[in-house]
């Protein structure tokens, strides 16, 4: 890779009380990349993302974003720096309207009103179904629509690095395909993406590089197509 990493994670550990969930994770994401983190249930994928956005505290190690250490920054400052997250299980604000949800996504962007209104239009163009239902409570949307809302909401935070947590969770196969197509499209438009997925095949299918997480440690990291070919990965995560 030619440039400096956009995100650099060095030996990060995380504890839930006495239980250690992450054991010294190190990884990088370079500008423009789409990096996938795959692994089974309980491997620590979500914990890792939560540690990056500091919803969860790291007990050791450092996280660097754009050359700035963000390990101890409060979550809202990390978002303001340009790290936006699409949380696991979508976590849309159910009683609030679709429009209010999107406006909350742009919470940190109040200074650049013009950019926000333009981006809002762009998100509505990207997901026409959201425009159709803009006044409806987000909780009344279907799972796929909620996932689109969660992605749109994160885009309005003006992400330089977009963290996606299990976007395929609970969606029908056709919708998964649709969501992954959109993720790939966003990446092609220049958004750097860190994607966490249980659906290893779909994730590695669109990613540049991948990390395999097992019980809180990185056990493998390589180019995505190499991982797809890897014997151990195939047996463990792809099932053939």
């Amino acid at each position: 890779m030619p440039s400096d990493p956009m995100l650099k994670v060095s030996s990060v550990s995380t504890h839930y009380g006495p239980v250690q969930a992450l054991h010294g994770i190190s990884m990088e994401v370079y500008p423009g990349e789409l990096v996938a983190i795959v692994g089974a249930n309980g491997a620590g994928k979500t914990t890792l993302l939560h540690t990056l956005s500091r919803v969860q505290n790291a007990s050791a190690g450092q996280v660097w974003f754009d050359g700035m250490e963000i390990t101890r920054l409060p979550p809202h400052k990390i978002v303001a720096a340009g790290v936006c997250q699409v949380p696991e299980g979508r976590q849309v604000f159910a009683p609030l309207s679709v429009d209010d949800n999107l406006r909350l996504g742009g919470f940190t962007q109040r200074k650049d009103h013009h950019w926000f209104e333009q981006e809002l239009e762009r998100v509505y163009d990207l997901f026409p179904i959201l425009k159709e239902k803009w006044q409806q409570a987000a909780g009344t949307l279907s799972g796929g629509q909620q996932q689109m809302l969660a992605i749109g909401r994160a885009l309005l935070g003006r992400p330089r690095l977009l963290l996606l947590d299990e976007p395929s969770m609970g969606l029908a196969p056709l919708l998964v395909e649709e969501i992954f197509r959109i993720i790939q499209q966003l990446n092609e438009q220049g958004v750097t993406i860190l994607l966490v997925e249980q659906n290893a095949r779909a994730a590695l299918g669109i990613a540049d590089r991948g990390y395999v997480l097992e019980t809180g440690s990185v056990v493998l990291s390589a180019k995505a197509d190499e991982l797809l070919e890897d014997e151990a990965v195939r047996r463990a995560y792809l099932g053939y």
Binding site: H76, Q91, P95, L104, F107, L120, Q135
Partner: protein, 325 residues
């Protein structure tokens, strides 16, 4: 009903009542305490209904405002206005320093902490006899005056409290539809998700807690001058519970619901007086059936019912003709 139309309607109601029924006991006396309760319920609703932070100690902030005004004007001969401001500064400061540790708690634990706070304040008011007059309370609190206009009749108090209530309702409506208001409502859903939106949840919660306390303190000061008497009974634990009931009865997360709940809970006991011994039983039964049949609260429930009825009549339900702004 749009927010703005609702506000005009409420203003119209406040203006018309004394014109239609002058010298009516319910208008000049009961409506004044309903107005004060509405101010308190609206402020508590910001905290409880919108931000999702339950408080069983809201009456304590009311009491702090009332007693600061009472003590400063009777014992230290202050003018009521600076006394009122002093009350708000004191209450706001205490709320600010309380907010951080207390709002870390959630659900039942937050309820217990605020309940404890309310009881502590009440005990202080009862025990500090030298300053507060103890259980007997403080009397002979002077009334307010605006540039020589003495607020010394029931009707004048109606005007003052009515205007204050409208002001507070207007403030609450504007807050809720603002950027900070969206942050509050987001907090209610999921704090983690709110943090992921870049919302400083601690600052937001502290802000709404202090704001609710300031409004409650203002209501307390108004109450002290209007009644010209305060006692620990007027801001005890039961009053806190009553305020929570107003918010829940009217419908959580609806400013008009809070106003409505306050009005119903103030007027109902007065109207039920005719049943004499059965008054409290009937009151309880009404509350119970309301919550059973309109679980989202009276105001919100009836609003939804009305919406469904009018929707059925219109040709194309569901679709909204408006485009995003």
């Amino acid at each position: 009903m749009s927010q703005r139309k609702g506000f005009y309607l409420l203003t119209l109601l406040v203006v018309l009542l004394p014109l239609l029924f002058p010298d009516n006991y319910f208008v000049t006396v009961v409506a004044v305490s309903a107005g004060l309760n509405a101010i308190l319920a609206v402020s508590l609703n910001l905290l409880m209904g919108y931000a999702g932070q339950i408080s069983l100690g809201h009456a304590a902030f009311f009491g702090m405002g009332a007693y600061t005004s009472a003590i400063l004007t009777t014992k230290f001969a202050w003018n009521p206005w600076p006394a009122m401001v002093a009350g708000m500064i004191l209450t706001g400061t205490i709320a600010f320093f309380m907010a951080r540790p207390v709002l870390k708690l959630k659900g039942h634990y937050l309820a217990m902490a605020t309940l404890g706070f309310g009881i502590i304040i009440n005990i202080i008011l009862v025990q500090a006899v030298g300053l507060t007059g103890g259980p007997d309370g403080l009397g002979e609190i002077p009334t307010l005056s605006f540039f020589g206009w003495q607020v010394d009749t029931d009707l004048r108090w109606y005007i003052v409290i009515g205007s204050c209530m409208l002001l507070v309702v207007w403030l609450a409506l504007n807050l809720i539809n603002s950027r900070s208001g969206r942050a509050l409502r987001a907090l209610h859903g999921s704090e983690v998700a709110a943090e992921m939106m870049g919302i400083d949840t601690t600052a937001t919660k502290t802000g709404v807690f202090v704001m609710a306390a300031l409004i409650a303190s203002l209501a307390g000061s108004l109450f002290a001058h209007q009644q010209s008497f305060v006692s620990p009974d007027s801001c005890d634990f039961f009053f806190s519970i009553e305020l929570v009931t107003m918010v829940v009865l009217g419908g959580m997360a609806s400013t008009y619901g809070a106003v409505f709940g306050a009005i119903v809970l103030t007027f109902l006991p007065e109207l039920l007086v005719v049943f004499e011994d059965f008054e409290v039983m009937i009151f309880g039964a009404i509350l119970m059936s309301m919550m059973i049949f309109l679980p989202q609260g009276m105001f919100v429930g009836m609003q939804n019912l009305l919406q469904r009825l009018t929707h059925r009549r219109s040709a194309l339900p569901g679709e909204d003709p408006n485009e995003p702004a």
